[in-house]
């Protein structure tokens, strides 16, 4: 029997004539490399914030309030992106702010993705009353207005890191559960699951060993897209004043702070705003790219 080697690339793309130069490859996949660069930079910044930030993000300097960015008239090299009402360095605050954005999103993703996946697989595989119950809970969760619930939680528990995480997680698992249940339903009736049962595998084993690995792709795509959405949600909560409380620098909070002086000092709101947009966009692009790459229809079964 001849061994047939079909890889993803040779199967789906025209055979390459010669290996293309590297820079062309990068240019053609700009929607992948650019977002990847942005997100890598974000992680790097968050990890090395101490080293990168030129100033203390919470150091107040009343003599240097509302300084414009360095490239504008009146700006100094000392504060590249200017200062806010209290004379704090915008750049340093943004660098430290990446930590909050990233840690909130990662914590929320860890919680929502695990809860949603477990709920989805259990509901999809076991079916019957279990499925009905879990899916009704999911429906109810999806019917709640998330921002209102977050505000309520902030009032009850007081603003803080874990309040934000809780507020975003408490409803955030539902879309995962929906998606994973759908994927599980498809897999539940496949022959390889039947074959596993014939070979004496328990339900738990089938869910963990046979169903889960087959839905990882979809999960990765959704998680990537969720990063952007969660950074946005965290910013929104901070903007409303119920995020991680000051003086900790959070991007959404910075946008909010700049609001009152936006006619005189636009940079306070603008720079964090631009970064939020950039990161969210990167997450979405990367998610799209991954979805195309991991699409099971494009995979050789």
């Amino acid at each position: 029997m001849m061994r047939v080697q079909i890889t993803k690339r040779t199967a789906n793309v025209r055979p390459r004539k010669k290996s293309r130069p590297r820079h062309i490859h990068v240019l053609k996949n700009l929607t992948f490399y650019l977002p990847l660069l942005v997100l890598t930079l974000l992680v790097f910044t968050a990890v090395f914030a101490d080293v990168l930030a030129p100033h203390d993000p919470v150091a107040v300097s009343m003599q240097e309030r509302l300084l414009p960015p360095a490239f504008m008239e009146g700006g100094t090299k000392k504060y590249l992106l200017g200062t806010d009402q209290l004379g704090r360095d915008i750049l340093s605050r943004m660098i430290y702010g990446s930590r909050i954005s990233l840690s909130v999103s990662l914590a929320v993703i860890a919680i929502t993705a695990s809860v949603g996946t477990v709920m989805g697989i259990v509901a999809g595989y076991l079916g019957g009353a279990t499925e009905a119950l879990l899916m009704r809970i999911t429906d109810i969760s999806m019917a709640f207005p998330p921002m209102l619930l977050a505000l309520l939680l902030a009032v009850v528990f007081g603003p803080g890191f874990w309040t934000v995480v809780l507020a975003l997680s408490i409803l955030g698992w539902a879309p995962y559960a929906r998606l994973i249940r759908g994927e599980t339903l498809k897999l539940r009736y496949t022959d390889f699951v039947a074959q596993a049962r014939i070979n004496g595998a328990s339900s738990l084993r089938i869910m963990v060993k046979h169903i889960f690995p087959n839905i990882v792709n979809s999960l990765i795509v959704v998680i990537t897209m969720a990063v952007g959405m969660l950074i946005l949600a965290e910013a929104a909560l901070s903007f409303l004043g119920v995020g991680v409380p000051p003086p900790a620098p959070s991007w959404g909070y910075m946008v909010n702070e700049g609001r009152s002086v936006i006619d005189r000092a636009w940079w306070i709101s603008a720079f964090p705003g631009i970064v939020i947009g950039l990161v969210v966009l990167s997450g979405n692009f990367l998610g799209d790219w991954l979805r195309d790459k991991l699409d099971p229809r494009l995979r050789q079964l």
Partner: protein, 326 residues
């Protein structure tokens, strides 16, 4: 005959399996009895929806729940009633004592694992083998099914293999724990004719080597002629005739069996038109009171419509359920 002295592996008595649907009770298998011996292949033949697959699934107690239920009967495997086992005990039987091969090799393998990992799973789980010993068992299973260079092949993913190879791998999984009984549910239907012939020959060889009892579910009398020692013909949830293969081809007693054999296209006979059985099988929800085949039977009589026929022995291991025999 040597076969008659071989030990009986499986004995099924009065098995009844129904599906409870919104429209009513579907009597998919309605009181069937049969047995299989060591090293013997029993062909389970019949048209679509006659209960062949449900019979296979019932033996493993893997009916789709909660609709499907075994209502009555005994399934004795080496004298142990499988219907009396707990769920956990039953799980230990599956894959180890009884295994099953499904129809479509394209979908019976999990796309995310290598062939080796998939064969190793029942080996590890059911036999408790680990590491090098598990690897040896996997290679032995691949060898048994004549998969060339097994040490290399076990690192392949299913998508890298052809249909015939995949079905061999499925066979290797089924045989990996040396089961007593193998249920093969139309394993060759999805393969093309030459591969099919190869596969059948392979199974005969596997059976000679391991002495496994095989229940071969099929609708193809050609496959039956090649593979099976005995045949049980099913119609609408009942066995209508059971006999040694060479006998049933020479002298089918039941009109349904005769009609089935008649409708197989043959190269050695010239016919104007291929024979076909008129009518449709009865609905399994609303069964006629007498013989189930009677509305389509060319030889129907008064009694056929009123009472169900009982088993009559017409030869050595040859039983017929038909009124015209008595």
């Amino acid at each position: 005959m040597m076969q008659n002295r071989a030990k009986t592996v499986l004995e099924v008595e009065g098995l009844r399996t129904s599906f409870f649907t919104r429209k009513g009770e579907v009597k998919a298998v309605d009181g069937i009895s049969f047995y299989v011996r060591e090293g013997e292949t029993l062909g389970l033949v019949g048209e679509s929806g006659c209960g062949k697959t449900v019979t296979g699934l019932s033996l493993l107690r893997l009916l789709p729940e909660p609709a499907g239920r075994i209502l009555d009967g005994k399934i004795l495997l080496d004298g142990i009633d499988l219907l009396a086992l707990s769920k956990k005990e039953m799980r230990a039987v599956r894959g180890k004592v009884i295994s099953m091969i499904l129809q479509d090799p394209m979908t019976s393998l999990n796309p995310v694992y290598t062939v080796g990992e998939q064969i190793a799973e029942p080996v590890r789980q059911q036999q408790g083998l680990r590491g090098e010993k598990a690897r040896e068992a996997v290679i032995a299973a691949l060898r048994l099914l004549h998969i060339p260079s097994p040490e290399v092949r076990l690192r392949d993913y299913p998508f890298q293999l052809s249909g015939g190879m995949r079905q061999r791998v499925v066979g290797a999984i089924a045989m990996s724990c040396n089961p007593r009984l193998l249920i093969a549910d139309e394993p060759t239907t999805a393969l093309d004719a030459t591969i099919q012939a190869q596969y059948l020959a392979l199974f005969k060889e596997v059976q000679r080597k391991t002495n496994v009892a095989i229940i071969f579910i099929t609708h193809d009398f050609g496959v039956v002629a090649r593979m099976c020692h005995r045949v049980a013909v099913m119609y609408a949830g009942k066995i209508v005739e059971t006999a040694p293969t060479e006998v049933i081809f020479r002298q089918p007693w039941h009109p349904y069996t005769a009609a089935l054999i008649n409708s197989v296209p043959r190269l050695d006979r010239k016919v104007e038109r291929l024979y076909s059985i008129k009518g449709q099988p009865p609905s399994l929800i609303n069964l006629p009171p007498g013989c189930r085949f009677c509305p389509r039977c060319p030889k129907e009589r008064e009694i056929c419509r009123e009472r169900e026929p009982e088993a009559r022995q017409v030869g050595s291991e040859h039983f017929v359920f038909c009124w015209q025999v008595s």
